[in-house]
């Protein structure tokens, strides 16, 4: 068990060299507005804090220490050089409200990233401010709404979302004031075209699609879908979660999409940080350019300047206090420069090679792909429905047992429509050896399921804790530490 930092705290202990000097000052603030108690913060030495948080870090899996075949999350290597360079003083000490003349270094990077993203997506305008994929979705749907409203086309109340979509899609559409209608998937993993045709109408504002879909297959009829939706007067939103599968191969703009977000923390290798920060820039076709969220960077001659609400009167507005997750924008820019155009072409190729190779190995070992007739994209799904029935084990058990083999578990139980599924995405930065080792481990776990299922059911065995009681956590909420008073 790891002690909490509070349990190492002692009254009057502190990290003295890190604190400012004591000042003797008379306050003119009314006494009733001053705090008269002491907040419950740790009182520890610098060494205690450093050791505690260093030791805690060792209780995490991470890309730097483990392989993460986590479908839909694109856990590729995050280059160290990029992180180091983002910490250069001129970037780190730079105030977001600095005058343009003091911001040219940062703005040049942001501007060039806008241009690079336009090129790889085949779109006409980019705003970098959304701070995560979900905020990019919100911005995208808000732009669709603003577009219809600007044309006086106000009867469109519905956004269509395939049943395999990420949960954020419907949630974002609702946040923009839309009703959501689900579209079913056919047996091969494509959108059910007849159901789509039946759902389209004058109430349709747009459709949100991921392509390749969350089922790990390319939507073959995407051009037909685009035509149908456009004919009905709706717009197409591209969820960029799976952009890694097509980077440098196919562009969403060419498929007929009007708006999309790009997950910088996936495709452009910015670190996930234990659950954020991310980056969710939006890219749009010509007709949505006036509605992009502000601020953006413009280039006038050799100088860069901010575009604000004053320059963009039809903008959907501001989504962050300043300029989104600027440091993530900077890191994505650097990654794009390291890759260059050739490197970018290779992303989808090698991500797809790794996925199809891993799928081939697992198929040969007896695993069941969810869509056996289909090519894998950068990821694929296996279903453990049969194993669950015969061996009484679940996808969760397999996932937890993989942790014992020092592999992060694949994404489980998503998409919701495939029973007992594992969604597996190896990414292009993993070596053949790493992919092989994972395949071997998964094959070994399947063997264990046949000979000793209890070892799966009780897994993990080799981690700092065993399986945790989530029901207790939700029923007996313990969200903040309260010291026991002696």
């Amino acid at each position: 068990m790891s002690m909490l930092i509070f349990e190492q705290s002692q009254q009057d202990r502190c990290a003295a060299a890190q604190q400012p000097r004591d000042v003797n000052v008379t306050l003119d603030i009314p006494a009733h507005l001053l705090r008269d108690d002491q907040p419950f913060l740790p009182q520890v030495s610098e060494l205690q804090a450093v050791r505690h948080y260093t030791r805690l870090s060792r209780r995490n899996f991470s890309i730097d220490t483990q392989f993460y075949p986590l479908g839909s999350c694109t856990m590729k290597y995050n280059p160290r050089g990029v992180h180091r360079l983002a910490f250069l003083d001129g970037f780190l000490q730079h105030h977001p409200l600095s005058l343009d003349v003091h911001s040219q270094g940062f703005m040049s990077c942001a501007y060039e990233l806008q241009e690079i993203l336009k090129t790889v997506t085949g779109m006409k305008g980019v705003s970098l401010t959304p701070m995560a994929g979900a905020q990019g979705e919100f911005a995208g749907v808000a732009m669709i709404r603003a577009y219809h409203q600007a044309r006086g086309d106000v009867a469109r109340t519905e956004i269509l979302v395939p049943d395999a979509a990420h949960g954020t899609n419907p949630a974002s559409a609702v946040q923009c004031g839309y009703k959501v209608r689900e579209i079913p998937t056919d047996a091969d993993g494509n959108v059910d075209i007849d159901a789509l045709r039946a759902a389209l109408g004058p109430q349709t504002a747009g459709i949100m699609l991921t392509n390749p879909s969350t089922l790990g297959v390319f939507e073959e009829k995407i051009q037909d879908i685009a035509k149908m939706v456009h004919q009905a007067g709706g717009l197409l939103y591209y969820d960029g979660a799976n952009l890694n599968a097509i980077l440098g191969k196919v562009r969403p703009g060419d498929m007929g999409f009007d708006v999309m977000h790009i997950n910088l923390h996936k495709t452009f290798a910015t670190p996930h940080g234990g659950g954020g920060p991310g980056g969710g820039p939006v890219a749009v076709s010509e007709r949505l350019v006036p509605f992009l969220p502000t601020p953006m960077v413009a280039k006038v001659g050799d100088a860069y300047r901010w575009l604000t609400e004053k320059d963009c009167p039809q903008t959907i507005g501001r989504l962050s206090t300043f300029m989104g997750n600027a440091g993530i924008v900077l890191r994505a820019y650097m990654y794009a420069r390291l890759l260059g155009k050739d490197g970018m072409h290779r992303v989808a190729e090698f991500a797809t090679l790794n996925a199809n190779y891993l799928l081939a190995r697992l198929k040969a070992a007896g695993f069941t792909p969810a869509y056996p007739k289909r090519r894998a994209s950068h990821e694929f799904i296996i279903t453990l429905k049969q194993e669950a029935k015969e061996l009484h084990i679940s996808a969760l058990d397999v996932a937890k047992r993989l942790l014992d083999y020092d592999f992060h578990a694949p994404t489980m139980y998503f998409p919701l429509l495939v029973p007992e599924c594992l969604l597996i995405e190896p990414t292009e930065t993993e070596s053949k050896e790493a992919v092989d080792a994972f395949a071997d481990a998964l094959i070994q776990v399947l063997q264990e399921a046949k000979t000793d299922p209890a070892i799966l059911k009780n897994a993990p065995h080799n981690l700092p804790v065993r399986r945790l009681d989530e029901v207790k956590a939700a029923r007996e909420l313990d969200l903040v530490y309260k010291p026991v008073v002696e």
Binding site: I29, E46, S57, P79, P96, D469
Partner: protein, 472 residues
């Protein structure tokens, strides 16, 4: 190949296993007419050495500035250990802690963060963070709208003393959900929101937003505002600078019953300025609102052996379970920034945070004194303040700031663009990082700029007039 480890031999073996001849065959389900994206306008790749050279040049362009801008982002000293430890790969490159057993480091840290932040706000619970301060306020407003069953009209009172960008973001995010944001003017003498000025809105109010200190750096009478909100059966939403809460009364202590929700920008607690992000938003509340609290929340529980452990909890509120019925579409927090902040708060402790807040107070007052000694430079609001102050300059604020920029001094934030009534006013900030030598330098250059442009000023105005007439 950058970041791709495959040898030619690997590729051949893998293709043979798959049963295709070349990598391109793997894309055969994509219609041929769509394949072949042109990336011609993207530059060729750089080596790490070349990139280092390029980025050093870019960073240098924005370097060596003496910064007196605050306005929502504050330069504080960040102990070396904070980002040394935060940059460990195990924090930096970990995924969201959905696999709890493989994420106990991040999860325990978040539990410790929740404990620290809720105590700093004097409230019962905290989530594991949101994107930034402005979007946290938008989520607080949505939370209030869901929670307040007494109010039918979804009317939110938003003082104009709240950060103008926060107000913009709230409008953009909640605008489509039938929530009305009513802006409340401030008292031009004190720069605060007077309770008397709220009275005319006193009919079915969902929530009142209360900033502390407010955007002008001024201390608001939060007790009176909180009590007024509760008298209207409205929810009191505090939006505060967390650093200030080591010195000022915390939201949970405001008025008779305390504010219900507190939110704000976590950046002052160990996060560098970095052009505006990534920062993180914090969101705390009384326990009766916990099920309406958006974002991730960590709970302490036990494992199969009864040993302490941590998990994400109350996930039934979230979008990956609830989809269209979720409390919010948010599915990340800003884990890395919270990691830095938790380490920062541990190193500072209650004493270090209070000292920092006091040093800011002292420096801001010292800066005020040297600047207002210059003829024509005046304090605008007669109110107590913490680490920022509004000053009126005798000349155009934009011109003065541009002139100061030539000396690499960032003289503050010009208020005339967002508050037309505050023409020639600048919001100036001094944190604990500044010294009396810095103040003297600022004062000297300001004086120089003001006296130089006095003469030039008249000529400039004349030229502008001529340009306007010419249609330039």
């Amino acid at each position: 190949m950058p970041f791709i480890p495959h040898t030619k031999h690997d590729v051949q073996t893998m293709l043979a296993t798959i049963g295709v001849d070349k990598i391109d065959d793997l894309f055969d389900e994509i219609p041929a007419s769509l394949r072949g994206a042109s990336l011609a306008s993207i530059p060729d790749g750089l080596t790490e050495m070349e990139l280092t050279r390029l980025m050093r040049e870019r960073a240098k362009q924005d370097s060596d500035l003496l910064c007196f801008i605050g306005a929502g982002a504050y330069e504080h000293h960040i102990p070396a250990a904070v980002w040394d430890v935060t940059s460990r790969g195990e924090y930096l490159t970990a995924y969201t802690p959905y696999q709890a057993e493989a994420s106990q480091g991040t999860l325990q840290l978040l539990y410790e963060y929740q404990t620290m932040m809720s105590s700093l706000m004097a409230l019962d619970v905290s989530n594991a963070s949101l994107y930034d301060g402005a979007s946290a306020l938008a989520e607080a407003v949505l939370m209030a709208a869901r929670s307040n069953k007494n109010s039918k009209n979804y009317r939110i009172l938003m003082p104009r003393t709240v950060h103008p960008h926060y107000r913009d973001v709230v409008r953009a995010i909640v605008g489509q959900q039938g929530i009305e944001i009513i802006e409340v003017p401030f008292d031009p003498r004190t720069g605060t929101t007077a309770v008397a000025s709220l009275q005319k809105y006193a009919n079915d109010i969902t929530a009142l937003v209360i900033p502390q200190p407010n955007f002008f750096g001024v201390i608001e009478d939060v007790d009176a505002l909180t009590n007024w909100a509760h008298e209207q059966k409205a929810i009191a939403i505090a939006v505060v600078n967390p650093m200030a809460m080591a010195l000022l009364k915390a939201p949970g202590q405001w008025g008779k019953n305390g504010a219900d929700i507190a939110c704000g920008e976590g950046q002052p607690l160990g996060v560098p300025l970095a052009s505006g992000g990534p920062y993180y938003g914090f969101l705390c509340c009384k326990k009766e609102f916990v099920r309406q609290l958006p974002g991730r929340i960590v709970g302490r529980t036990v494992d199969a052996d009864g040993k302490q452990g941590f998990v994400l909890t109350l996930q039934a509120r979230e979008q990956h379970i609830r989809r269209a019925k979720a409390t919010s579409n948010i599915c990340t927090n800003q884990g890395l920034l919270v990691t830095a902040s938790t380490i920062y708060m541990s190193l500072m402790g209650p004493q270090g945070l209070r000292r920092t807040a006091l040093a800011c107070y002292q420096n801001a007052h010292a800066l005020r004194d040297v600047l207002t000694a210059i003829p024509g430079v005046e304090v605008v609001f007669a109110s107590p303040m913490l680490h920022e102050i509004v000053l009126r300059l005798p000349q155009s604020v934009d011109t003065v700031l541009s002139e100061l920029a030539k000396f690499n001094i960032q003289g503050g934030y010009a208020l005339n663009h967002v508050y037309p009534e505050l023409g020639n006013c600048v919001l100036v900030c001094a944190t604990e990082t500044k010294t009396s030598a810095d103040f003297a330098k600022y004062a000297e250059k300001l004086q120089q700029v003001l006296s130089k442009s006095k003469g030039v000023h008249a000529a400039f105005e004349k030229k502008t007039l001529v340009d306007c007439e010419k249609g330039v």
